[in-house]
């Protein structure tokens, strides 16, 4: 498929991204670069200095809302992308109305409890929409443990083992690998059967 054909197909697609931290910000930027038509991004958090070791923000954006800053960063990369920024906490009650129109949804939360809440909500309320989750990317090295696998409409990217801890922080290279792997799976889903 030629680059122009890919862009044409992707420009008609909508992708939802739940969480704009290490996974969400990097995945959103990768999807913006390839020309996804609409990105729906959701997060309630503000940027801290500690986020800059892996998240797609800049030092002068510290203290500002993640969704607002990510929307600005995407506009500087590809102004053709329509970014819908949702500055809120995702809960089971608002997830279907925010992400119900998406072609694919990316799970990009930090904490396991949030991942459980989100995946249970999406798989329960919108089982026909493919979901791409990030599971296990703390630490460094171990390139060959990162994988992707599919369980029905749920795609899992990561090593499924490395949980964050004080000794195993999430840092740019491995978080970026999983975030880009999620974006790659999104493209695979969107370009299939086209």
């Amino acid at each position: 498929m030629k680059a122009e054909e890919i862009t044409k197909i992707l420009s008609r697609k909508t992708v939802g991204i739940a969480g704009c931290g290490g996974l969400g910000s990097n995945c959103a930027v990768a999807l913006a670069r390839v020309g996804i038509g609409t990105l729906i991004i959701a997060d309630f958090d503000v940027i801290t200095v500690g986020n800059l070791n892996r998240q797609y923000y800049f030092f002068d954006q510290v203290g500002r809302k993640k969704v607002t800053s990510l929307k600005e960063n995407i506009a500087r990369i590809n102004p053709d992308v329509n970014v819908i920024a949702c500055d809120l906490r995702l809960i089971p009650e608002n997830i279907p109305s925010i992400f119900g129109g998406c072609d694919v949804i990316v799970e990009a939360f930090d904490l396991a409890g949030q991942k459980e809440m989100f995946l249970e909500s999406v798989l329960g309320a919108m089982p026909s929409i493919p979901v791409v989750a990030g599971l296990g990317m703390a630490g460094w090295g171990m390139n060959d443990t990162i994988h992707c696998r599919q369980v029905d409409n749920l795609f899992i990217c990561g090593d499924e083992i490395s949980e964050i801890s004080p000794e195993m922080p999430p840092i740019a290279p491995r978080v970026g690998m999983v975030a880009n792997m999620q974006a790659n799976v999104v493209l695979e889903i969107l370009l299939k059967n086209e």
Binding site: G24, K115, E120, L123, G134, I161, S162, E163, P170, V175
Partner: protein, 68 residues
């Protein structure tokens, strides 16, 4: 004895059926944050006590770990 697929691996479990909670205990799955699917359908956390796994079922237990 019933035969199920658990995370793509064949398993033999005593009895004719077992609740999801009993299966987790039997397999010593101590993770708190999970996504469980039986034959492609999500089992909500609130249903782990009542949802039953039966002979021939295809069960996925996904462990959710922090990081992102």
């Amino acid at each position: 004895m019933m035969k199920i697929l658990l995370n793509n691996n064949p398993e033999e479990i005593p009895g004719d059926s077992i609740s999801v909670n009993e299966l987790l205990k039997f397999k010593n799955f101590t993770f708190k944050m999970l996504i469980i699917k039986i034959n492609g359908s999500l089992v909500k956390k609130s249903d782990y006590e009542s949802a039953l796994v039966r002979d021939g079922d295809d069960v996925h237990v996904l462990h959710l770990i922090s990081g992102g």
